[in-house]
Assembly symmetry: C2
Homo-oligomer: 180 residues x 2
DNA sequence: CCACCCATGTAACTAGTTACATGATTTC
DNA sequence: GAAATCATGTAACTAGTTACATGGGTGG
């Protein structure tokens, strides 16, 4: 469970409102840690009652808008969590189940869905490549930039391997329908 | 939500007990769809009350042992689910969060954990490669075998990209500590 | 003045994890 | 006869999703 730690990280980078956090979890951070706004508000409530963050009503902004900032206890907790070891994420891919289902009770005509997935992965890869060009094409990157680049590269290599694999899958699936 | 469909697939491959399913979800199927035995028994109960599977007490076996088999309605449901389109899984990787935390409030000394992860990914890759040698080194593979091979290849390419990326991450992390 | 974005939340449900609990059979 | 494995389950909790709800501010 590390949603609170993902939130702490984001707040440590830049204090903001819950709404802003939700938007960040729809793009940058959301690429590797998704959360809905409902989850975020609930978690922020818990984190505040634990003394990890503090929220203050913003004067100039819209009614009810709060600025969330990290507290020393939150920083400590983030440090503690980041340095402790953890289990790697588990893959969970329904396409694998579908392939096995196809082998067991098929054929099920999975090619169409694989084509769709291929497009999605290629689209995602292109998005990452554009970010790469825009933010990391400089010759000298600071250490912080290199760390951020690493994260992007994880996304790039993942999508690349997905694209490659999906094409292979399509070949196998088309071979079958050709001989049917 | 596709645990029931993963279960249906496994039962369609070969009817078995809940215990056997739990073991399968600890190895083959578990590589891309994890579930604990508690989840499995609960889900089996639901599936039986929906008429997707049927369980019959085994005479010769241990007391209470049940043989689960798929029913026509279960097959239909599996087919329906497999042919409908679905959203690709979301990545969820705490190492990415930790890297960002390191950039924001670091350095946190993440190299040790990355070394550990590297070993795990290399170990996993080796396991997959052994299965590849054992089961798919033949020249001619049937269509079913090719589908199963595809699933294994997804694991292989994933772990390969993980290994490669983790090495890159270690380089960036060591560069920093060298200049500290 | 209407639509869209900002901004907050509650409630109910579904899925997944952890802890607890029991008892039979096989193997050493 | 003790330990490991087979075999089933319940209870309680945590995390994640979906639906519902409200209201202010900005731009066309």
């Amino acid at each position: 469970m590390s949603l609170p730690h993902a939130l702490l990280t984001s707040i440590a980078e830049k204090p903001c409102s819950g709404y802003d956090l939700a938007r960040r979890f729809d793009k940058s951070i959301g690429y590797f840690w998704h959360a809905t706004h409902q989850q975020i508000y609930r978690e922020l409530g818990r984190m505040e009652s634990q003394g990890w963050v503090i929220s203050t009503e913003v004067e100039g902004g819209r009614a009810g808008k709060k600025l969330i900032d990290i507290l020393p206890a939150g920083r400590d907790e983030l440090r503690r969590w980041a340095t402790e070891s953890s289990a790697p994420m588990r893959l969970r891919d329904d396409m694998m189940v579908k392939l096995r289902a196809d082998a067991a009770i098929g054929p099920l005509g999975l090619a169409e869905e694989f084509e769709r997935r291929l497009q999605m992965h290629e689209q995602e890869l292109q998005t990452y490549r554009e970010i790469e060009q825009r933010d990391f094409s400089g010759v000298l990157l600071s250490h912080e930039q290199q760390l951020r680049y690493l994260i992007l590269k994880a996304g790039i290599t993942f999508e690349e391997s997905r694209v490659q694999w999906t094409k292979e899958a399509l070949q196998v699936l088309s071979k079958k329908s050709a001989t049917d």
